[in-house]
């Protein structure tokens, strides 16, 4: 009897903490998004769905832009991450952990500080553009800061290790004999890659997408530091609705909408690329 209760005692404090400060706040945010009122006079539950309709209508541009930026970031990251994960997994030899530590170096510096550092490098009078402009290689009115590529570049930069690591883990698990077998069966290098290595790496790509698409499309630091009014993302809107306007119902409705869209996206993607299908592709 006592042994059967043991796991519940172990879970109790942590579980209670998460129930109180993760699950319950989500529920309160949901109900707040359907209330009307303000900070001073309080909020009444009126099931005011109109908040969602208005929020989505007013900020459709920012929502769509965030998803597009998140999508581009993720695709660019897969392309950038694959070769480096491949190199470390198959050619890293005994230096694998050194390479991994080098890739994790940025995490020892604050996320905000790193992003500001990029602003510093890329700004109009900064380390990169000033010399190029004075040498006449770029027109004087050339900008990077404030453009969409600057924001996407920042997102790619900040979340790239989260894409490299899961792909690396998946590639590292591949039995080298499988690759050898493919070669022995006269597969060309391209076929070895497309028919054997890439399908086996798909679970890693999936984990990487999960770990980068969600934070990238809900980010507001990169677009605030590296962007301009033309690159505003939904995260910035939600942040200012909460912290500046204190318009809690709208802000709650927008963050719920964002989460719903991200969840639907992730589930659709998981179904399209589900584990069974991955196995089927591998077996083909």
């Amino acid at each position: 009897m006592k042994r059967r209760l043991a796991p519940y005692f172990l879970i109790l404090p942590g579980g209670l903490w998460l129930l109180l400060f993760f699950v319950l706040p989500m529920g309160i945010m949901l109900s707040l998004s359907l209330m009307e009122g303000d900070v001073v006079s309080g909020y009444q539950m009126t099931f005011h769905w109109q908040t969602y309709v208005d929020g989505i209508q007013n900020y459709r541009e920012q929502i769509v832009r965030s998803l597009i930026y998140g999508l581009i970031t993720t695709v660019v990251q897969i392309i950038l991450a694959f070769p480096i994960a491949y190199w470390i997994a198959f050619r890293g030899g005994r230096h694998k952990s050194t390479y991994l530590l080098l890739l994790l170096l940025p995490f020892f510096v604050s996320f905000v500080l790193r992003t500001i550092s990029w602003r510093f490098v890329l700004t109009d009078e900064g380390l990169l553009l000033a010399p190029l402009k004075s040498a006449g290689l770029l027109p004087a009115d050339f900008h990077i800061i404030g453009t969409a590529p600057a924001v996407i570049g920042g997102l790619v930069y900040n979340f790239l290790p989260f894409m490299i690591l899961p792909i690396y883990v998946a590639l590292e698990r591949i039995d080298p004999r499988v690759v050898e077998a493919a070669k022995d069966l006269y597969a060309t290098p391209v076929q070895v890659f497309t028919r054997v290595i890439f399908p086996l790496a798909l679970p890693g790509v999936f984990a990487g997408v999960l770990m980068t698409f969600v934070p990238a499309s809900s980010d507001y630091v990169n677009s605030a530091v590296l962007g301009s009014s033309g690159t505003t993302m939904i995260g910035q809107v939600i942040q200012s609705q909460y912290l500046t306007s204190q318009n809690y119902p709208t802000a709650s409705a927008l963050s719920f909408t964002l989460m719903a869209i991200l969840l639907i996206g992730i589930f659709t993607y998981a179904r399209a690329l589900g584990t069974e299908d991955v196995l089927k592709v591998a077996a083909r």
């Binding site: 993760f22 950038l80 020892f108 550092s117």
Partner: protein, 272 residues
């Protein structure tokens, strides 16, 4: 150990490809490290004006004048306090959850796993927003306590996942042997289980510390008027960052690297 025989290269093209990949890998590493390099370098910049943006000569003086900005010092102190608190609380609670998930099968096992995953996968923005909604709704004042509560919340899952992974690899017969030899449950835990899971508890705690000290998004929502190191940097961006920020960042970076190297070395020495 004898070196494994080198695989026979079939084509020279493979070699060129390898060389390209090698160069590419180092280019990416350099790109990832560039902002760190700039941060460290401009901590040594003998800047005269308020903007620390152009190189004006080498100096050590900012290291001596590190604590001259009271608000910054206060923010760093808050960050350290909260990170230590998070490490202790989330370390303890997360370890218990990890033990339960790794060791027992019970009703609610799947649900607990799902909640752990949900916390890790949820956008920080949404967690921060929901916590702020919650604190506003119950009328709690924002400050160090609410920051600590939120940091513990998102760190528990990471600690639990790390500890669970370790518990799953443990040989249960070692504990049964201890019990057969007359050790009670508590003695078994203290003398057998705890030493075996300790590396994972340490790793989970370090992870909690790093996540807490660097967190910006959730803290931004739950801090009120309290500042932490990342929040102070964020607020100071518009007026220009003083070199002290670079020095603080450099010191935190150096300590982090030292701890990472020390734990990597100690785990290498331990036979696994």
């Amino acid at each position: 150990m004898a070196p494994a025989p080198a695989p026979v290269r079939r084509r020279s093209r493979g070699r060129t490809g390898d060389r390209l990949l090698f160069v590419y890998t180092w280019l990416i590493i350099a790109w990832l490290a560039l902002p760190i390099f700039i941060m460290i370098m401009f901590g040594f910049n003998d800047t005269k004006g308020r903007y620390n943006q152009t190189w004006q000569g080498f100096t050590f003086k900012w290291y001596g004048r590190l604590l001259e900005i009271p608000a910054l010092t206060e923010a760093v102190r808050n960050s350290l306090l909260i990170a230590v608190g998070t490490t202790v609380v989330a370390g303890a609670l997360g370890t218990l959850v990890g033990l339960a998930l790794g060791r027992y099968r019970f009703r609610g096992h799947g649900t607990t796993n799902f909640v752990m995953f949900a916390v890790i996968a949820s956008p920080e923005l949404v967690m921060g927003a929901s916590l702020l909604s919650f604190f506003v709704y119950i009328g709690a004042g924002l400050g160090k306590t609410t920051i600590l509560i939120s940091h513990v919340m998102f760190s528990i899952s990471f600690v639990a996942v790390v500890v669970r992974a370790r518990v799953l690899t443990l040989d249960r017969y070692i504990e049964e042997a201890a019990r057969d030899l007359g050790a009670g449950p508590w003695t078994t835990f203290r003398l057998v289980t705890w030493p075996m899971i300790f590396p994972a508890v340490l790793a989970g705690g370090l992870l909690a510390f790093v996540l807490s000290i660097d967190d910006f998004v959730i803290t931004n929502f739950t801090a009120g008027t309290t500042t932490t190191f990342p929040l102070w940097i964020w607020g100071a961006t518009r007026v220009g960052l003083p070199p002290q920020v670079n020095v603080m960042g450099t010191l935190i970076f150096a300590v982090g690297i030292l701890i990472a190297l020390a734990s990597a070395l100690s785990s290498r020495r331990r036979p696994s």
